[in-house]
Amino acid sequence: MNAEAVHAEGHHHGPPKGYKRWLFSTNHKDIGTMYLIFACVMMFLGGAMAMLIRAELYMPGLQFLEPDFYNNMVTNHALIMVFGMVMPAAAGLANWMIPLMIGAPDMALPRLNNLSFWLLPMGATMLILSMFAPVLFPGTGGLVNTGWTLYPPLSIQAGMGMDFLIFTIHILGISSILASINIIVTILNMRAPGMKMFDMPMFVWAWLFTGFLLIVVMPVLAGGVTMLLFDRHFGTSFFDAAGGGDPVLFQHLFWFFGHPEVYVLLLPSIGVLAMIIPTFARKPLFGYKSLVGGMAVLFTLGLVAWAHHQYTVGMAYGPTEWFMIITILISIPVGLMLLNFMMTMWRGAMTFETPMLFAVSIVLMFSFAGVTGVMLAVVPADLQYHDTMFVVAHFHYALIPGSVLGLFAAVFYWLPKWTGNMYDEKLAKIFFWWNVISFNVTFFPQHFYGLAGMPRRIVDYNPAFADLNMLSSIAAFSYGISHLLFLYIIIKTVRGGERATDKVWEGSMIGTHGLEWTVPSPPPFHTFETAPTLKPLQH
């Protein structure tokens, strides 16, 4: 083929106009933007459900919600936040940043990328329909009240909304698997000439591990809920003891997915921290290779630790001991990561712009989740803590600092690059303090009334826990409202503001190739159509 023909095929004329730009998009930046917008919408939907939960728990006794509806809110809040908010947001960041970071012109499989995204609104529609199933299909049973874990036999007895939820998980699972395959292929095949694996920015490494985790565990969840579907409608007894099945099997299948899923939610944010902390400490990341090694160990241990979620189900001594030891061992790679971050900050020329404020607070608060995690890993202690609000406090400390705040940090860190405008630093700092303080006031007391014996997932509680629950609820409303400020800051930044430079942050290119900072802010529709030339990088 001659040069002219090559030019004609490879030549682009900017984005298409109107809805076609978004519906048929194969552009990693547009798809990344759509992922992030979708995640934001889901955050407010899942957040509204959390507000209802806390409103109900404001006082003992029944306030606003029917018990079944309360349980449905608990179920959908979790499913929306995990599958609808955090995972799509992390995928949005990956879409936006990975091609820019590795000097690729786009994702490896752009049409697959489009499909991965557009499956999400379909899945979300199914999820929302599950809440309306009792109205849409009267006589087919009530609301799904199983919690996000969907344990049988309750999930086999649940109404038709359960079928909607099963298909939701199928659709969102397919989306995640396709996105992961795309990201892994992009990372392995599309790096700019001269960029070795150990030259990659840590966010890229984090997503490489995340992608592999997802393709290993997501099929197991999909298979598990398919068995559930068959038990519900086609006469099988996978999980029915009366037919020779075993309900505990579902717990194993669910948590074989569910525990690595925690690292799926966590690792992208760890990658973000490993980008932000060197930037604002103005020092190269401490222990680059050890952090990659730590992620590899976390990946491996995370796959064989699942049954610590089910100590109370009555497993034999041997496996229980195995899962306890493996779970405690996980604190080693996690501790290593936190040490890497602290050593990066050590004697750095630190400044505390909003992304760095989030990063430092995450290191502190996530350590707290690590401490309660070790407590929960110990079998005799866990038998006391199981299914109490202590567990709720633990996993919200793990998932909000460990994941959600990392996403906020990433948004503030990269928003000037995406939009070409600096965000309002003063408002962003107000958001940070408001968000983090109200988060802590919401969830910290839950340790206490959890330890004192308040069970989770139950609409009512002993009046002895009333005062701290009221405190939790008031702080939760404040925490919820703070996100409106986040939305306002984003909209304000998109609409205008002080112009951002290409490099955006003074220290953004320290210790990495920093290819994402070499393109204009905002980047043009197509970037790196000609591969960048890289110099060898020293670690």
Partner: protein, 46 residues
């Protein structure tokens, strides 16, 4: 393999991407197979 300029290089890259995607899809199927091996549940830690 890197991103590339000529049409032939682009086609080679596209084929390499597809091959790797199929291998990864194979892992998905393998995990499904491993999971069904555990049915009806007697072989998981009980």
């Amino acid at each position: 393999m890197t991103n590339s300029d000529t049409n032939q290089q682009r086609q080679e890259l596209a084929r390499a991407n597809l091959r790797l995607a199929l291998v990864l899809g194979g892992i998905v199927l393998l995990m499904l197979a491993v999971m069904f091996y555990f049915w009806p549940g007697s072989q998981v830690p009980a």
